[in-house]
């Protein structure tokens, strides 16, 4: 039973770390603000949640398990909200998303016009 919990824990932690790495690479390499927001959203919601789920089998007591669960709930509630707030602020600052090459819309620069 113990080794099963350890294997599950390692799996979740591994996938969570991998997603965090790809999220970080995405934030650095994506061309536009909104695509970078998507990469950051993956990092702060999915990767953090998977890491917490990976830590849960390792919890030493029921108290620690419930604390980890509450932290997971808080992250699942607040991270998408903060991503939404950032994207909304960008839209209100009239930052246009950089669409494909075939449209005639001028490509947006990265500094938000306020």
């Amino acid at each position: 039973m113990m080794w099963f919990l350890d294997i599950a824990s390692a799996l979740f932690l591994g996938i969570g770390s991998l997603l965090m790495l790809t999220g970080a690479v995405g934030v650095l390499r994506f061309p536009d603000f909104y695509t970078r927001m998507h990469a950051a959203g993956v990092t702060e919601t999915l990767a953090a949640a998977l890491i917490l789920v990976g830590l849960m089998p390792q919890a030493a007591s029921g108290l620690m398990f419930s604390k980890l669960f509450l932290i997971l709930l808080l992250i699942l509630l607040t991270s998408p909200t903060s991503g939404h707030a950032l994207a909304k602020a960008a839209i209100h600052s009239r930052l246009k998303p950089q669409l494909g090459q075939t449209t005639v819309e001028p490509l947006a620069t990265d500094t938000g016009v306020s």
């Binding site: 808080l74 509630l77 909200t81 939404h84 707030a85 909304k88």
Partner: protein
């Protein structure tokens, strides 16, 4: 492995500090300062200083960027172009090299027999369990052995709040009429409104948990006060300062700011009346540990009340100034 994490965090801190020095967009600089606070909190946590990490995360990554952003909205977002000052650079390099040469004599990082660990600290670690009886040694030192210093700290927080009120409190064109314009503009932020209404009561509950659990784990009055103020500030950001003033009477908040400090001072006077030193709690109950528990509980409550009230007062005062600026 811990040393590797340590060195990585410190290197990231150095890179963040260089970016803060280089950038001209103050909005980005404030965000980087928030990241700097969060990295410092992680560093403190890896160095076993959990109370300090808690406080630095709440202050350095929470209250500090918040107040800077409100000030930034008033003073302007971009820094004027500047030249690099070679004199300052040379001075800073010389002082830095001298300081680094000075650290070569220091005991290695983490050595158990450094002079810092051999004088007073073993006495506190060994005897605080019997004399005070609470597990968190930092709280027992902060609230009982060195309670007078903490009294001074709470007095500094109170004086800072009074100073901010004196500097920014009375404005021409006072905004006592409320900021209804901003209340209407928040109606479209449905997601934020709903989520914040879900979150604000648990945040306040968590602040109370941190306040009273500070004797058994990391926490205490100051962190609890900051978290409680953060809940009120979240409400104020989303629904406007006018709605906050209607919900929470500012006169009551200012009274509570003074009341917390008064509670702290009165505990000291009461302990004088029981025959002990000022802020020596042993006269409050029959056994010493019960008396210490009562004393620590009351003064931590005083600290929490004052800090929460002062943070709310400071934020509301800054926000009022911003609204007056925008109306002009």
């Amino acid at each position: 492995m811990e040393l590797f994490i340590d060195m990585m965090l410190l290197s990231m801190l150095a890179v963040t500090a260089l970016a803060i020095a280089y950038l001209k967009d103050l909005f980005a600089v404030v965000m980087l300062a928030g990241i700097y606070g969060l990295l410092s909190a992680s560093l403190f946590a890896t160095m076993d200083a959990v109370d300090v990490a808690f406080t630095e995360a709440a202050v350095g990554a929470g209250i500090f960027p918040l107040l800077m952003l409100v000030a930034l909205s008033i003073t302007g977002r971009y820094e004027r172009s500047r030249r690099v000052s070679w004199v300052a650079l040379a001075l800073v390099s010389i002082v830095g090299i001298l300081l680094i040469i000075g650290t070569v004599d220091m005991p290695p990082f983490g050595s158990p027999d450094a002079p810092a660990h051999t004088h007073v600290a073993p006495r506190y670690i060994e005897q605080s369990g019997e004399e005070i009886g609470i597990p968190n040694i930092v709280t027992s030192v902060l609230a009982s052995y060195r309670a007078f210093d903490t009294f001074g700290e709470v007095a500094v927080v109170f004086v800072a709040g009074v100073s901010v009120l004196a500097l920014l409190g009375m404005a021409p064109g006072d905004s006592r009429h409320g900021t209804d314009r901003s209340l209407n503009s928040m109606r479209q932020h449905k997601v934020l409104r709903v989520v914040s209404k879900i979150l604000i009561p648990p945040i306040m509950l968590f602040a109370l948990y941190v306040q009273f659990h500070g004797e058994y784990g990391p926490g205490g009055g100051f962190q609890a006060g900051v978290i409680f103020a953060a809940a009120i500030i979240l409400y104020s950001i989303l629904f406007g300062v006018g709605a906050t003033k209607k919900a929470i009477n500012q006169g009551l908040v200012r009274f509570l700011a003074a009341f917390g400090l008064l509670l702290y001072g009165i505990t000291g006077v009461l302990s004088l009346l029981t025959g002990e030193n000022y802020l020596g709690y042993n006269g409050f109950a029959e056994t010493a540990t019960n008396a210490q528990h009562i004393g620590i509980l009351v003064i931590e409550l005083g600290v929490g009340i004052t800090v929460a009230a002062i943070m709310i007062v400071i934020f509301v005062t800054f926000s009022d100034r911003l609204n007056i600026q925008e109306k002009r």
